[in-house]
Subunit: 214 residues, 2 copies
């Protein structure tokens, strides 16, 4: 059992790594907490706390070593073995997400896609095999898939989530515009684009002095 790390910290680590990769390719070898904070849109103290949380120590003289830090974050975030991902719902959004994630992370692959529409199933999209949703449980078990991405309409989302969990999935990224209810062993991250757009529209209208709240 590793150290206890919050959801927010895990998310920031993902962001830090991407920012560090960009720095690295442009030749930067060291970075100070306030520099990384400026890039990430946070505070220097928060960056240092996050680094302490994963047990990576900097030095007062040179800050953090970019290469070592990327590696330390990878030790935390990345799985040792390949992790399979299932995408459910191959509509516009599903296909865009498939294209977006393909080849982005070496250990994290979308290895199967599912759709209730038989015309969408039984083909190959971006190198990923698509199946009818009736085969979901079978394929998820067979391929040892642990992560699901839900891109189906709101009224199908809960049933899809239930099927995924029953088949052994323990983490779900949910794009359906409705919260999912799952058991205690399963982590769900909701991406609610409608909510986000309405928030933006609201604060675009009423001014951003309220942005400071929370």
């Amino acid at each position: 059992m590793g150290p206890l790390i919050s959801v927010k910290t895990i998310g920031r680590l993902s962001l830090y790594r991407r920012l560090l990769n960009r720095l690295s390719t442009s030749g930067t070898q060291n970075v100070y907490s306030h520099q990384l904070a400026a890039l990430a849109g946070g505070t220097a103290a928060q960056v240092r706390r996050d680094m302490m949380a994963i047990g990576y120590m900097g030095s007062p003289k040179r800050g953090y070593d970019v290469r070592e830090l990327i590696e330390s974050i990878g030790n935390f975030l990345d799985s040792a073995q390949d992790q399979g991902v299932a995408l459910v719902g191959i509509g516009n959004l599903g296909r865009a997400i498939m294209a977006y994630f393909t080849g982005r992370r070496p250990k994290l692959h979308i290895v199967a896609a599912f759709d209730s529409d038989p015309y969408k199933a039984n083909r190959v999209i971006l190198g990923c095999r698509c199946y009818p949703i009736a085969q979901l449980a079978e394929i998820v078990r067979e391929l040892n898939i642990t992560v699901g991405i839900v891109c189906v309409p709101a009224n199908e989302a809960q049933a899809v989530a239930d099927s995924l969990v029953r088949a052994g999935v323990t983490g779900i990224l949910n794009f359906a515009p409705v919260p999912l209810r799952v058991g205690p062993g399963v982590y769900v991250e909701d991406i609610d684009m409608t909510m986000s757009l309405e928030k933006v529209a609201y604060f675009a209208r009423t001014g951003s002095e309220r942005e400071v709240l929370t």
Copy 2:
């Protein structure tokens, strides 16, 4: 100047309204805080706090009136006039988002799209006129657009955001995998799908007892 409401509350109101609309179409007339909380994945106390924040009062006997509550939330969230939205970046994700939001909210329309690729510009997608990015400032001002959606690659995102803000946009929904820096008068909501997927993969692997943290 209306009452002070937090970003989180505004987001939840958006969710409540959608859930209430579903209840309404299925004939439900009243709802209790714990029922709405169960649907939204929150607590009853939180729902009641949110209702108090927008000044809508329930009754101990009948809880909240669904129809009135939908209307009260609308008074808060919705603009009196139409609000124009600009979408920048008409790749896979951009087109999916365009399809996703088209016709979803009566007062919130994507009225212009932009892309740096001339082959994508100067056409109509889903009823929305597309322009070369060179015309962004001009069109945004002309159409009084106040909300921008950024779907361009990471290395172009900050420049696009700067252009949008200069042209008068005061709210940005950012899908580019990099945080945007904007001045104080502008609200930015980041949707970082890579971060979200890595979080899900991490907690799918390490178990969800840590999910409780934060």
